[in-house]
Symmetry: C2
Subunit: 229 residues, 2 copies
């Protein structure tokens, strides 16, 4: 998620898009329309739309920013990244161009439906999440791996405010299962920085805050430490 984070944070200053798609240059020889998936679509439940609208209101005074989200990374970002992480098994540019962000690879409404909001002063990210029918683990509930995924990207965005980071540790306590198609609030906070290590906390609660579904901690490391050998 590293580069998509970079893209998101670069666009933090942008006003919320009124149309769901924005054109960005992805390849030097062609223009590719790149959809921002962190905007309402027909699969969003009333609960998710309501919360989204509430946070968009909070964005009006500049204290919160909505973070856009895309399926693919621009080739320039891939090249930059590969200077740090060179792996002989993945050098074919053709393959690379077909890769998609895990959290945006399922069809609209079936997978991860979410929108993130960032509060710079509080070093906090709130992610509004609705788990689609193809995220099933136990019958009727979101898979533990899908929960880990939404925690990883939310905590990752939170730590990213301090620079480019990677996840070194993720410790998750699963308290209560999350029903499919329900809306929950993922809240991540940068807790402390020790040397080059960043420590973040994360909770997943029901929208009324009465149910704690999951709590987690994460340790993040800046890129140079985690270089591929």
């Amino acid at each position: 998620m590293l580069r998509s984070c970079a893209m998101r944070l670069r666009t933090l200053g942008a006003t919320p898009a009124r149309r769901p798609e924005a054109t960005r240059r992805l390849f030097s020889s062609e223009e590719v329309v790149c959809k921002d998936y962190a905007l309402p679509n027909p699969s969003w439940t009333k609960d998710l739309r309501l919360l989204f609208d509430q946070f968009m209101k909070k964005c009006e005074d500049g204290s919160w920013k909505r973070l856009p989200s895309y399926r693919q990374n621009p080739p320039q970002a891939l090249q930059e990244f590969q200077t740090h992480f060179v792996d002989s098994k993945f050098k074919k540019e053709e393959q690379m161009s077909k890769a998609q962000q895990f959290t945006r690879s399922l069809e609209e409404g079936l997978g991860f439906e979410y929108a993130m909001f960032y509060n710079k002063a509080e070093k906090r990210i709130v992610c509004l999440f609705q788990g689609g029918l193809h995220l099933q683990g136990m019958p009727g509930f979101v898979h533990g791996g899908a929960i880990a995924t939404i925690i990883d990207i939310t905590a990752g965005m939170c730590a990213f405010s301090e620079g480019i980071v990677m996840t070194a540790n993720l410790n998750i306590d699963y308290k209560k299962p999350i029903p499919l198609l329900s809306v929950v609030v993922v809240n991540s906070q940068l807790q402390k920085i020790e040397g080059r290590k960043l420590f973040v906390s994360c909770t997943i609660q029901s929208t009324d805050e009465k149910t704690l579904h999951t709590q987690a901690t994460g340790k993040k490391l800046p890129l140079p430490i985690c270089q591929y050998p």
Copy 2:
């Protein structure tokens, strides 16, 4: 993953299917062909096929068993499960019938390609895993959430040998990124049982065992403890 586990373990005694599809009764009024996804398909790399064949050889003396894997749970299992976890937000049977197992919801080759093998005497599961192009996190590498997912299902199957369990904790150390389309070996071991708690360990290594990509521990609880309120 609870019910799919149940299905898998019930079928442990079955001989490896020579054809990739087997018919199972899913609905009382109709027959539905349910595909076993834990068998080779054209997206599997040579490395994955080779390892799969090696483990199939090990199955011949009965010490190892291949575990099948499906996209959907039979309605009977859902009903059984709902007697434990009743949630008003997810009672519509029509919705439930459209839900799919998270790890099998992406198209062939693009998501989680894996096959699991179980050694009862050693209380151990080996999962051969190839991460497809739609599992991307950092450019060119498998997403940390996808890694957490494959660990969760492998450790879950390992603990399941002791009964129906749910994940209570997952603690993951990410050591080295896993390149997309590479094949890795996920190894999970039941470590100890304390009261009703089951403790499992899990590692992800390269096929030559020279690179430790990830290591994790998991705590599992039998179903009655984790009842939805």
